[in-house]
Amino acid sequence: MASQEILREEPSRGSFINDPKVRGIFFQAVVVVVLVALVWWIANNVIANLTRLHIASGFGFLRGRAGFDISESAIAYSSDSTYGRAILVGFLNTVIVAVVGIITATIIGFVIGIGRLSHNWLIRKICTVYVEVFRNIPPLLVIFFWYSGVLAVLPPPRESINLPFGSFLNQRGFYFPRAVWGDGSWLILVALLLGIAMAWFVARKAYQRQMATGQQFPVFWTSVALIVGLPLLAYALSGFPLSFDFPKQSTFNLTGGFQVRPEFLSLYLALSCYTAAFIAEIVRAGIRGVSKGQTEAAGALGLRPRSILRLVVIPQAMRIVIPPLTSQYLNLTKNSSLAIAIGYPDLTATAGTVLNQTGQAVEGVVIMMAVYLALSLITSAIMNVVNARMALVER
């Protein structure tokens, strides 16, 4: 009797203190209160500190005269330009070194990574040594090594080292011939774009035809012919408008040509070498992640080793490689902020100078954070698109 009555009762819920839902709401409420109090306290302190230091908040300072020089800039800049423009110059320098570094690091990384899987013992060992050395050293040290260990002890301009193609290497950097674009050189650019567009079109058509009929078309060589040939043809037709301004040795310095300063050179070399070691490991893991059965099955279908690599192994390896590769690209972009240590005027360096001159610490740090966050998001968005195209199409 008694047991039946108990069964009819509502199940005991216990004290509401033990209800996970109630607890969750209470806990979150506490966190919100503490957080709001903390933010309010910090905001109060910041306002008090800023008024004490006589600093006006807001981004109006960006229109002020910068008054400092920047050694390298991609756009016109002088010390009379605004703070905003100085930060823009820094931003462009960051983008330049990141893009060039990413391209180089990818090439070196793929070569070393494939080398680590080579059948050749010597190549394998050399690549392993490279990876183990660079992975275990801080990137800043690599930058310093290139900057003060290698480039700073090069001979002075008078005794510049001659390199092929009329380029020179000395203490003040790397000099190479600058292309001088004469009249009508726009034709070359148009031809190049046209060539790329046509190559893309041909590749598409060839793919469709192969899907429909099974007939193949030499896409690679056609593309090379289009992309290289058309600009060359335009170059000849427009009367050879391109000439080169070679660097010449004068008494104290080199004149003419294009100078790559040692700051950029050491940052670029260090970032490439350092990131390449990580990319190499990613590539190795990616290729080893493709099971042997895939290679054997492709062989059984009668594909040649080169086709196996191109059509079976690499597309599957890329699926494993791309996500970690993206984070390495992001790391390289973020590591480019180390430029400040050797005086390459990247975003952190110029924004840091602006911050010191104006005292606008909050705005300066906010700009830096926002730009790096934006760069990271853009890079990962691009890589996500690539990844989506590569990803396995499942049911």
């Binding site: 957080l35 050749n120 013992w121 992975r135 090594f145």
Partner: protein, 385 residues
């Protein structure tokens, strides 16, 4: 005619023949690993050329031509530069490293007080080594001593101002001392904070989850330098006027928070790899949230991500070198600062100092990565899917 009994049954196995000559020994190894095909041979030649080009130069520079001892720059400079070496000489200036060794290790820590950091280092090694060797018993006590007692003792010893020990300001610290103490505290702080952030990110409470996601993604999206800038420029603004706190402490906070965000993502990977049945099993046993996580999920999850955790440690150890940006002198910073010493300024100084610093960093990082591989193998209980 003799009659032969042709039926024959072999009673024992034939002895194994040795492998043919072409398959064993040095020749076969070379044939297989170095000159298997025409392309392979070309690669080998390129490899040999690379080694021949680089290795003798490196050995010459680092050992044969190197100067190991000397009073000042003259031993490492050529005659033209005002030294004693013949023109065209190029060798490592280990004499520079030798003369500055104390500074590279401890920075400008007062000479008569240097026994204190050395004592801390000895204590650290004495506590760390048994913890790393699996066979030594009493791991729990050992870990408590290393992670709870040692920091307090080290703080008292290094900073001083109590028990009659004279006060040593952190601005005098430098060299490997700063590198190691930053990384030790960073490791000790970032792992628990990272675990909490990872749990928060997978929590069902929307506000906690949002806060954790925003923190993790923001910190991972910006460079450490910006975080350090933040810690050194903005933190003082956040506090009431007149309240300042130590630059070393600010760097510590910056580095720890930065590493914690990365650690959180590593731990989250481990949490996601644990099958749902484990969570449900723990629930059905009536375990509460913290019991479920602490007893069932985290032990398995952390074991899965040991390589990732150690990689984060290695990354943080390397990243401590960035404190040079906010003018603190860790190992790399103090080496770089000494380049400007007029007593030692030669063409070889920078290179020698940097190679030395690189070697120290390399030793620690390589050691950590090898130890993690060892642990991974040891903990591999065969339950891998």
């Amino acid at each position: 005619m003799q009659e032969h009994d042709l039926s024959f049954v072999r009673a024992e196995m034939a002895l194994a023949e040795p492998a043919p000559l072409s398959e064993r020994g040095l020749v076969a190894w070379v044939r297989k690993n170095l000159i298997a095909s025409a392309g392979d041979t070309i690669l080998t030649i390129i490899g040999i050329a690379l080694v021949v080009m680089i290795l003798p130069q490196v050995i010459n520079w680092a050992f044969i031509n190197a100067q190991w001892t000397g009073p000042d720059r003259t031993v490492c400079a050529t005659v033209a530069q005002g030294g004693i070496q013949p023109d065209g000489w190029s060798g490592a200036c280990w004499a520079f490293v030798n003369a500055k060794f104390g500074q590279f290790m401890l920075g400008r820590y007062p000479l008569e007080e240097r026994w204190r950091p050395i004592l801390v280092a000895v204590l650290f090694v004495v506590l760390l080594v048994p913890l790393l060797i699996p066979k030594v018993p009493r791991k729990g006590l050992n870990a408590i001593l290393l992670f709870l007692v040692l920091p307090v003792v080290a703080f008292i010893l290094l900073v001083g101002n109590v028990f009659g020990l004279p006060h040593v300001e952190t601005s005098l610290w430098g060299g490997l001392l700063v590198t190691l103490s930053l990384s030790f505290v960073g490791i000790a702080v970032s792992l628990p904070v990272g675990i909490m952030l990872a749990l928060g990110r997978r929590s069902k409470m929307p506000i906690i989850k949002t806060l954790c996601v925003v923190f993790i993604e923001t910190v991972r999206g910006i460079p450490l330098i910006t975080v350090l800038f933040f810690a050194s420029v903005m933190l003082p603004l956040f506090l009431p006027a007149g309240v300042t706190f130590d630059k070393f402490l600010r760097a510590l906070i910056g580095v720890s928070l930065f590493a914690a965000a990365y650690m959180a993502e590593v731990v989250r990977g481990g949490l996601q790899a644990i099958p749902k049945g484990q969570y449900e099993g723990a629930d059905s046993l009536g375990l509460g949230y913290w019991q479920k996580m602490g007893l069932i999920v985290l032990p398995q999850a952390l074991k899965l991500v040991i390589p990732g955790i150690v990689n984060t440690f290695i990354g943080m150890f390397k990243d401590t070198s960035l404190v040079i940006i906010i003018s603190m002198f860790d190992l790399l910073g103090i080496v770089k600062q000494n380049f400007s010493d007029a007593n030692w300024a030669t063409a070889q100084t920078a290179r020698s100092g940097l190679v030395f610093a690189a070697f120290i960093f390399w030793l620690f990082c390589f050691g950590m990565s090898r130890y993690s591989m060892y642990t991974e193998r040891r903990l591999d209980t065969g339950h891998k899917r």
